[in-house]
């Protein structure tokens, strides 16, 4: 790929992520409001298109977001991380999209100023928002909605470590936790992507399934 084409691709990806970020902000504005599914889907569609154009460029664009790391950026980063891991693993598109949507909703429910809520605490309010129908919302993607809500339902009701370790559940908890660690309580500033990955690799293993930790930290080649 020529330098000019790469530059154009990178710009296209940045543009998509800027627009996605604009669509995330209203989702965070009123955390009690019913979830805006269409807005969520637009965010994911932009993220997916960006990754299809360039996995590495998307990762660079996420890492290069202005270092304020406000809740919207962190929510977008959580969504990207979930989608990135599942795409690399070769998970089917429908599941990848639903899982990424669940991550976005959980991040929007749990991440604020400061570390925010863990997945197990953020899942229930996220589910409440997602089950509540927005007035005028068209009912034309039930399979996606069921899978997204099923993920949140399972995380919200898991009582034990054993239940939290079932299937793909650890991924959501880990991704949420990473965005909490990005801005720990009492710390000025935030961790960079590189610091975050090193910290995750060192600290997360005792608390999270090592296989998922490795899958998350491995990142796009």
């Amino acid at each position: 790929m020529s330098a000019e084409a790469a530059r154009e691709r990178d710009a296209w990806i940045v543009a998509q992520l800027v627009l996605a970020l604009q669509e995330v902000r209203p989702l965070l504005a009123d955390r009690e409001a019913p979830w805006n599914w269409i807005a969520g889907i637009h965010v994911l569609d932009r993220m997916e298109q960006s990754m299809t154009r360039g996995e590495d460029a998307t990762a660079r664009a996420i890492a290069a977001m202005p270092p304020r790391w406000d809740p919207a950026q962190r929510a977008l980063a959580a969504t990207w991380r979930t989608m990135s891991v599942l795409r690399r693993l070769g998970v089917d598109a429908a599941t990848t999209r639903a899982a990424s949507h669940a991550s976005l909703a959980m991040a929007c429910a749990g991440l604020g100023q400061g570390p925010g809520l863990a997945a197990s605490d953020a899942a229930a309010p996220a589910l409440t928002r997602m089950i509540a129908r927005r007035q005028g919302e068209s009912d034309d993607f039930p399979r996606h909605r069921v899978r997204v809500c099923a993920i949140l339902h399972a995380l919200a009701r898991a009582q034990s470590d054993q239940e939290r370790a079932v299937g793909v559940r650890p991924l959501f908890a880990l991704v949420q936790e990473m965005e909490r660690w990005r801005q720990p309580a009492g710390m000025d500033g935030q961790r960079s992507e590189t610091e975050l990955l090193q910290w995750t690799l060192a600290q997360a293993s005792p608390r999270f399934d090592a296989k998922w930790v490795r899958a998350v930290v491995a990142g796009p080649a």
């Binding site: 800027v18 089917d92 993607f141 899978r147 809500c149 099923a150 009701r157 490795r214």
Partner: protein, 504 residues
């Protein structure tokens, strides 16, 4: 291109054209609110399933199959194609089990598609969210909006993205494969989603019971595991409306057979199967049992014990009623007989059942029975033989002769006499005479039968040959006044045997 390839290509085009014509008609019918489109949808599904290459490509000008434009977009037909293309739809591949309702759903979305940004965005979202069952969809991004163009211009003015440090570790294929398998496990998702809709009733419209039933059947047929039994058990015992709807939906899915043929048969599995049989309809319960019997047929008697355990809890009467012999695969009837034979009161049930079923069904049942039981069932078997066709009689005779039991052999001789050897294959008559005479079972009656003028000449000749080879040859070949009245063929054979003995 060979003649054969040309012919196949022509046939494919013909079939694809029929599909597209019907599909376009379905879209137009739905746009016109035609009340009943079920038959057309079924026809389209059948057309699509039958296509050698089930992929269609979309271009603004029309729909292509195998690279050839077969449906041109015009106002009178295919008018939906340009808008579907604008929504990002590029290709549709029907899966093997695509259903009429999938066709209806797709046609509905295309029928309501409007040539507006809202309309194309709506279809794009619908396809993107995997709302279309039964298809693999190729979806392209929507055309860029003004906002996207502006954002792109801004991004082009920004400094280039900095390079990224390589990831600190790499994930091997051995590490990623099990994680991917976990994420792609349909049973895991089915369990998660069922748990959701059973807990949150407001989500139930998003997973209709018939959709659940279909997915359960698919999962059960693909790779059965214990989680499916747990889900089915929960639905079988469930008291709420959703569980009731799901139970009703199972009536349309051959899920019973899938359970019976694949479910684990350890004590826990048997208990769950028992719950499913108790909680679901007789139709499904029967399917489970028939699936189990098919499995027992394949794997032999090693599987009889768990099935007997299950049948014991049901009781022989309920077991027999659920299985429905008339629809049980003929190959499974032997296992069915073996299981009944081991149930308390099973022999009495068999004695009562055999005269009521067709000879063919009866043969399947008695095929697996032990000798001691065959002996107890000689009366009903006698009745079966009287009603049976020559070929069926040969099958029963083979079973009874193979038992080597004198009582069974005597029962066979009695039927042969009673029928005066009419309706028997000659090879079977020969086998019966050979075995009975060898075992010295009723030699006198056999001799009399051979001498009877009421027996067909061909049968008498076979009997005569076997008697001549046996220990009663001398008696059989002795001259009798009555033989003067015998047909010439008998007289000639007697003379020949007396002069030269039995020819090898």
């Amino acid at each position: 291109m060979t003649e054969r390839n040309r012919s196949q290509d022509k046939e494919f085009q013909h079939n694809a054209l029929a599909l597209l014509t019907n599909f376009d008609a379905l879209v137009r019918a739905m746009a016109a609110d035609v009340p009943d489109t079920a038959a057309l949808a079924a026809q389209v599904a059948q057309n699509w399933r039958a296509l050698a290459d089930r992929t269609l490509q979309l271009e603004p000008a029309g729909v292509l199959a195998n690279g050839q434009l077969l449906l041109a977009a015009k106002p009178e037909c295919g008018s939906w194609v340009p808008d579907a293309f604008a929504a990002g739809l590029r290709g549709l591949t029907a899966l093997r089990d695509v259903q009429p309702q999938d066709m209806t759903a797709l046609a509905h979305e295309l029928a309501i598609l409007t040539p507006t940004p809202h309309g194309t965005d709506r279809l794009h979202t619908w396809l993107w969210t995997d709302s279309l069952g039964g298809f693999r969809v190729e979806l392209a991004p929507l055309a860029p909006t003004d906002a996207e163009q502006r954002a792109l211009q801004d991004a082009l003015l920004a400094p280039p993205l900095p390079p990224r440090e390589p990831p600190p570790i790499a994930l091997s294929a051995e590490e990623s494969a099990p994680l991917a398998a976990t994420c792609n496990d349909p049973v895991f998702w089915l369990a998660e989603e069922l748990s959701l809709v059973l807990t949150h009733a407001e989500m139930q419209p998003d997973m209709p019971a018939h959709d659940l039933a279909r997915r359960l059947r698919h999962a059960a047929a693909a790779a059965f595991d214990r989680r499916l039994l747990a889900m089915l058990g929960a639905l079988a015992q469930g008291k709420n409306d959703y569980a009731r709807f799901a139970r009703a939906a199972f009536e349309d899915e051959p899920i019973g057979e899938a359970i019976g043929s694949r479910a684990p048969l350890d004590p826990a599995g048997l208990q769950q199967i028992g719950q499913i049989i108790e909680g679901l309809s007789p139709h499904i319960g029967g399917g489970v049992l028939r699936g189990l019997l098919a499995r027992a047929t394949e794997h032999g008697e090693v599987l009889d014990a768990p099935i007997v355990a299950l049948a014991t809890t049901l009781g022989v009467e309920r077991f027999v009623g659920l299985v429905e012999l008339a629809i049980l695969a003929p190959i499974s009837r032997s296992a069915f007989g073996r299981v009944i034979a081991r149930l308390t009161g099973g022999a009495e049930w068999l004695a009562e059942m055999l005269p009521q079923v067709t000879p063919s069904e009866a043969i399947g049942i008695i095929h697996g029975l032990p000798v001691n039981l065959l002996l107890r069932l000689t009366k009903p078997i006698h009745q079966v033989l009287l009603r049976a066709q020559p070929r069926e009689r040969s099958q029963v005779a083979q079973l009874l002769l193979g038992s080597g039991n004198l009582g069974c052999l005597a029962a066979l001789a009695a039927v042969l006499r009673e029928t005066e050897a009419k309706g028997w294959e000659l090879r079977t008559i020969r086998a019966i005479y050979q075995t009975l005479l060898l075992n010295n079972v009723e030699p006198e009656p056999l001799l009399k039968l051979m001498q009877s003028s009421r027996v067909a000449v061909e049968a008498r000749l076979v009997m005569l040959d076997e008697i001549a080879r046996s220990h009663i040859a001398q008696e059989g070949l002795r001259w009798r006044m009555a033989e003067l009245l015998d047909p010439p063929a008998i007289q000639e054979r007697l003379a020949q045997l007396r002069k030269h003995g039995v020819q090898p």
